[in-house]
């Protein structure tokens, strides 16, 4: 029983990081209708920046600076590469973001080198015990951070002027434009928010085993999360992210006992299996809006 609970808690912890990444995808998708495949590179860039800044600045300042810098980087990418393509088919823009991802990731890899870099998070691998269940501190930190960010984000969307503008743009771009909403600001802002959240997620992803050239793969786990939740749903991204985290953690804990024939490390690909099953039943995800086609 304690094994189950600690596995669930681990899942919720990593799941909340996936949720942050997934929210980044969904925010960009909602405002620009593009899936930003450059998210892994932004996550990696944020984490690597922290690993360089943590020495002189200390962890929390370093994270703040890195989040701001990654947000600016995302904004710059949107301005320079994605903006000229507005109006082109979304597939083309999605492929451009793949191009950005490959280029940026290789540049960042130059700063990683062959060794493993550490972000020097204050949590490390220590765990605390609640009623006989041990939980790693960093999983608690992940969950709390995600909760705070998500709360702030929802308040921002609900009450601020810019948040309203973003919701309006997501609802109908042309109408929003005609009502005086600066759609280009919304585009830029959505990229910046996604970039900042990717940086936060990167720090947490790296807090386990450090940064090497392979951790960008983790960011792609947000893709099954957004598909499970539905591409245009913020709630869906959160539910999807947590689902992916929990499924992964449960599979990692129990698969070797119940289904060893699936092979080791099956937990890594299990989110994709869940994604396929969800899509078979609901082609637009759990919370996605069904597309109505008009001729």
């Amino acid at each position: 029983m304690t094994e189950l609970i600690s596995s669930l808690l681990r899942g919720v912890g990593t799941g909340s990081v996936y949720a942050l990444l997934a929210l980044g995808f969904v925010i960009i998708y909602k405002s620009t209708r593009v899936i930003n495949f450059a998210q892994p590179a932004l996550m990696l860039a944020g984490a690597v920046l922290v690993s360089y800044l943590v020495g002189p600045l200390g962890f929390f300042v370093a994270v703040a600076v890195a989040v701001a810098a990654t947000a600016m980087l995302a904004l710059g990418l949107e301005r320079s590469v994605v903006r000229p393509m507005i109006g082109k088919p979304v597939f083309i823009i999605a492929i451009i973001t793949i191009g950005i991802d490959i280029a940026l990731r290789n540049v960042v890899n130059g700063f990683i080198g062959t060794d493993v870099r550490q972000v020097g998070s204050p949590w490390g691998l220590q765990s605390v015990r609640f009623a006989g269940v041990s939980v790693q501190e960093r999983h608690i930190a992940m969950l709390l951070t995600a909760l705070v960010i998500i709360t702030v984000l929802f308040l921002f969307f609900k009450y601020s002027r810019l948040g309203l503008a973003m919701r309006a743009t997501a609802f109908d771009q042309e109408t929003a434009l005609s009502q005086g909403v600066s759609v280009s600001t919304v585009f830029a802002l959505s990229w910046a928010i996604a970039g900042g959240m990717a940086a936060v997620a990167g720090v947490f992803v790296a807090s386990n085993a450090g940064i090497d050239q392979q951790i960008w793969i983790v960011a792609l786990k947000a893709l099954p999360a957004i598909i499970i939740g539905g591409l245009e749903s913020l709630e869906g991204a959160i539910v999807g992210g947590i689902t992916v985290g929990v499924v992964e953690s449960l599979v990692a804990t129990y698969q070797s006992d119940f289904a060893p024939w699936l092979g080791s490390n099956f937990s890594v690909v299990s989110p994709y299996v869940v994604m396929l099953i969800v899509l078979m039943v609901r082609p637009y995800g759990l919370f996605g809006t069904k597309e109505v086609q008009r001729v």
Binding site: G113, T114, P224, L279
Partner: protein
């Protein structure tokens, strides 16, 4: 042709001198090489391609052979993504299925990995294509249910699942970092990969790839100008409109995936006979992205563009490595901060972005521009 017009024109339709774009019959317009310059230049290209066998040294020939095999795969991806508009990031998965089917069929029965000892290329090549094609048909129902980016992400998931399966199934694949031998190219006792009296192994493999590519390219070109090809175009441009006009979406999307996967399977089977060895970690997301890059850089919805793009992407790493000798900053030492692999990666990304931003029609578009310039020369248009 049973139209009245064709009954009167038993002889070849009249070509007007100096009017290469003037066609007097539909069949003439739809011909694969519908102008004399096209016929001549294609013939010249084939002659050059064959002549290359005897001019270029063997290591370079190996790279060319890889490019030719990759071209078959790129044509396959272009059929489903370029012509039919179904974005597939799962091409690596189908390449892998083809590669392992061929390798298993022709492998050594007493070897470390699964093998049936059927080394005849006429058996393992179609088998690789058919098994991959069946996998494509199994994936197709997803394509009929999903659209656009949903489909892209699902096919991306396919690559991850496939990578896991191939990494774990080490009786078939030899396991990660170990690998297994590729298919054995042999035709009724004639071996393509061993040095012969007249031709070396590499020369024979190069010629084999060339012949196969011509066959596959002509077949694909024919498919695209048939009823099926027109259905693909209609689905790409607007699937809803296509279905209202009577194009059965499910049927044609299934055909697109099946044919594309067939091409991918054959390409996968052929790709690794050049190097003779491959391991399951090769079939990752990057491979899929490389194929997407091939068709985007070459030219979406063109067969010759697919070949251009595949050659370009295949030649990129060796060329950048050559470049490294002339630039002092670049090293091949992987521990240095600016090494050749990083430059190569950045170049990939930059090329994809650059082509999409500035020349969305790819290398084929550049060729069209050059051609149109000289067509109208000395006038600007």
């Amino acid at each position: 042709m049973s139209t009245p017009a064709s009954t009167t024109s038993q002889r070849r339709p009249q070509r007007l001198p100096g009017r290469p774009d003037m066609f007097t019959s539909y069949a003439e317009n739809m011909r694969m090489l519908n102008t004399t310059p096209k016929r001549r230049s294609v013939a010249a290209l084939v002659v050059v391609a064959v002549a290359v066998t005897f001019v270029v040294d063997d290591p370079t020939l190996q790279i060319f052979a890889l490019g030719l095999a990759a071209s078959i795969g790129a044509i396959g991806l272009n059929l489903v993504t370029g012509y039919c508009g179904q974005v597939s990031l799962g091409h690596a998965f189908f390449l892998a299925i083809g590669a392992y089917t061929a390798a298993a069929l022709s492998g050594d029965p007493d070897g470390r990995t699964i093998g049936f000892g059927i080394t005849n290329i006429l058996i393992w090549l179609p088998a690789a294509g058919i098994v991959a094609g069946i996998a494509g048909i199994l994936v197709a129902p997803l394509a009929t249910r999903l659209r656009g980016l949903y489909l892209a992400i699902v096919t991306l998931g396919l690559v991850f699942l496939g990578e896991h399966i191939f990494n774990e199934w080490d009786e078939l694949t030899g396991g990660p970092q170990v690998g297994r031998e590729a298919a054995v190219p042999e035709l009724f006792g004639f071996s393509f990969d061993e040095n012969g009296d007249i031709l070396t192994g590499d020369q024979k493999i190069y010629l084999l790839m060339l012949v196969l590519l011509v066959i596959f390219a002509v077949a694909a070109r024919n498919l695209t100008r048939s009823k099926i090809g027109r259905a693909f175009h209609a689905i790409r441009d607007r699937d809803l409109a296509a279905s209202i006009m009577g194009v059965q979406l499910a049927k044609y999307k299934t055909i697109a995936f099946a044919v594309s996967s067939f091409y991918a399977g054959c390409a996968g089977a052929l790709l690794y006979i050049v190097t003779g060895f491959f391991d399951p970690t090769a079939f990752n997301l990057l491979l899929s992205v490389q194929y997407i890059a091939m068709i985007l850089i070459g030219g979406v919805a063109t067969i010759s563009g697919s070949i251009l793009g595949a050659m370009f992407i295949t030649l990129l790493p060796p060329v950048t490595r050559e470049l490294a000798q002339f630039l002092p900053l670049l090293t091949t030492d992987p521990s240095a901060s600016i090494n050749i692999f990083i430059v190569e990666g950045v170049l990939y990304g930059a090329l994809i972005i650059g082509f999409l931003l500035f020349e969305p029609r790819g290398l084929f578009g550049i060729w069209l521009r050059i051609r149109n310039y000289w067509k109208a020369w000395p006038f600007t248009y």
